[in-house]
């Protein structure tokens, strides 16, 4: 296969991996973030732990996959991005570590003092994690201050209004998705409380507003993704951003009706289309510049040799279906609702 075709395929696989990661991360981070607000005792907290913990290891690998495939196929993008965002990526790392460890410690330790500290750590690290991920992804779609000499300024440039709106959008989507997930996968009072909680505090209304803010932020740029290569090619691509807003409104509707399952489905679809809008919009840039469009780094600037790309593509063609197979099997196998005091005897 031609080198350019392979690069396009791998770019799509990276976008796909990010989307699969985000859709799962939203409910894991969201349900974790709600653990203190929703659970009135340890039995309910254990329900949330089981329903998120069962899947969190497996879903986190999608993030590692997205990053390593970027490393293996577009090392220039990997090196440049992570060097520029040195501090944010270390902070992200700490939230990933804190979240993973707190799920573990909470599950294994029964000392009430530790439980309290770890429940707070679990909540705070989950919120920060999805905030930083949202900040990074939104900025990737928004573009970085890159001129002909490379990236300018410091990592603080990611704290622009659009970036922060995007980060908050991810936090909101996580809370909604988490509430929906809890109501689908658990039994008893916890299940009923979850969606009521996000409705009562008005979280359900925030997503469409934040999406509009982010899209307006993109549109304010001279190098907006909406006038990028693909969007200017065909008007049909505007189905993506319009669809994103529509799905977010449907999520509001079902949140109002306290339908946890539909809320979960429509929030997940909103996230999916939002990401798709971004990845379609920046193409062919992987580090788009919001100063001068031609100074950005495209996938073709960064791609490795044809041999390496076809190797990686072959491995992915074989193993992604297998992985998706056994992860789907796992979701189906363990789809039963988690009851109170359901944690296993050892």
């Amino acid at each position: 296969m031609a080198q350019v075709t392979l690069a396009n395929i791998l770019y799509s696989v990276i976008a796909f991996s990010w989307i699969v990661y985000i859709v799962q991360e939203l409910f894991v981070a969201g349900a974790s973030a709600l653990n203190i607000a929703l659970s009135k005792d340890e039995a309910e907290r254990k329900q949330i732990q089981v329903t998120t913990g069962l899947h969190f290891d497996g879903m986190e690998v999608w993030l590692i996959a997205a990053l390593t495939i970027t490393f293996g196929s577009f090392p220039l993008v990997f090196g440049t991005t992570l060097t520029y965002l040195y501090v944010p990526f270390f902070l992200l790392l700490y939230t990933i570590i804190a979240r993973g460890i707190s799920i573990e410690v909470l599950y294994k330790m029964d000392d009430p003092k530790w439980t309290k500290v770890m429940a707070i750590t679990w909540m705070v690290s989950s919120v920060l994690l999805i905030f930083i991920i949202g900040l990074f992804l939104t900025n990737m779609f928004y573009g970085f201050p890159m001129d002909s000499t490379g990236l300018t300024g410091s990592f603080l440039s990611v704290f622009n209004v659009t970036g922060i709106s995007g980060a908050l959008l991810f936090v909101v989507m996580a809370l909604l998705s988490g509430a929906g997930w809890i109501s689908i996968t658990t039994e008893g009072p916890l299940s009923e409380k979850a969606v009521l909680f996000v409705k009562k505090y008005g979280v359900i209304y925030a997503a469409p507003i934040l999406i509009l803010l982010v899209f307006m932020g993109f549109n304010n740029l001279d190098n907006s993704i909406f006038i990028g290569q693909l969007f200017s090619q065909s008007f049909l691509y505007f189905v993506l951003p319009i669809g994103t807003v529509t799905l977010a409104l449907l999520a509001v509707y079902y949140g109002q009706k306290e339908d946890g399952k539909k809320l979960f489905i429509f929030v997940s679809l909103t996230a999916l289309l939002f990401m798709l809008t971004g990845f379609v919009g920046i193409y062919p840039y992987m580090i788009p510049s919001n100063i001068a469009i031609s100074d950005g780094i495209t996938l073709f600037d960064a791609m490795v040799s044809q041999k390496t790309m076809s190797l990686i593509a072959t491995v992915l063609a074989i193993f992604y279906p297998i992985i998706i197979g056994y992860q789907s099997w796992k979701y189906l196998q363990f789809r039963g609702k988690i009851r109170r005091n359901d944690e296993e005897a050892q």
Binding site: T68, V304, K307, Q346
Partner: protein, 386 residues
Amino acid sequence: MLDVLSRIQFAFTIAFHFVFVPLTVGLILIIVIFEIRHYKTKDEKFKKLSNYFSDIFLINYVFGIVTGIAMTLQFGTNWANYSIAMGDVFGSPLVLEAVIAFFLESTFTGIWLFRRNRISPRLRLITVSMIALGTTLSALWIITANGFMQNPVGASWDGARMTLESFSEVVFNPYAWYMLVHNHLSAIVLSGFVVLAISSWQLLYGKEDSKALFKTSAKYSAWVILISAILIPITGNSYLNFLNGIQPTKIAMITGEVSGGINTVVKIAFGIMVTLGTIFVVISGYTVIFLEKFSRSTTLQKIYMYLVPLPYIAIIAGWMVTEMGRQPYIIYGIMEVSEGISIVPVSQVWFSLISITVFYGILFVLDYKLTMSRMRKGIIEEGGEQ
């Protein structure tokens, strides 16, 4: 300064990561043995042992995973110039590690952690086997990447970029296979010592009714250590002979032909590794032969509890020989370490180095407390405490 800080940070984070890795890599194989016995004999005692040691495994596994993510990120944050120059060759083993190994072990670890008593003995065996396969494949790919740094084959260097010539040469790099076998056997020995120490503690201070169980685990671990400890010097010797041809500077450090500074450190580390390796054969041989005596002797049991640091020292010493021995190169004979760093503000590297040290300090305390408190609880009967 940037160079020095980045090196210190990488050395510290990889050493910390490697506190957890060998224990999980080896322990899961011992757990597989228990699960096979359980599946075949239907004897509940193997299920109890497997569950007990699985808890120790799972605690350390999570710490290994999260500290491993730190390693992946650092290739971009701190070693961007290396990553960009070597990406064509070095990136693909990491992709393969994530895609083939990480997904497998993580997906099945979730089941093992939260649902292992809800599934059939057959599915239990499949689950632990998948985790074991995952950890082994993970070791294979990361060592393939490291093997390339030690002995760059299957690629060509144009002075700025490395380009892949033959992936099968990269995978079948003899250096990587020697290292994989040597490292895996060491991890098994280390895990055997941990199982032996925990069994000793249980025989000394544990519940009366579970002592028979821990006599069984002590027997299994002594055999596991003995078999692997005998294989280590055999494979190690041919590994060394192979090195003679391809890494003359490392050999000169080991034999003491060159000395002073890092050279002497390598020589001493090599001496420590070999001495400890010999001691392991003696200890495990003695335990296997005098198992009855061990199960009655509180003195021996007390001694065994304190042997755990030895395999850790041996394995870290071994890695010091491997990694310090290739200095000043990051890719042996081709690129020096100092050429591989990212150009970032020094203050940011200070930030990450200090914060990660504090963070890892907390993690170490947590891991130790969790492991010890779980160890002390002993066998938990089904239907009892969670």
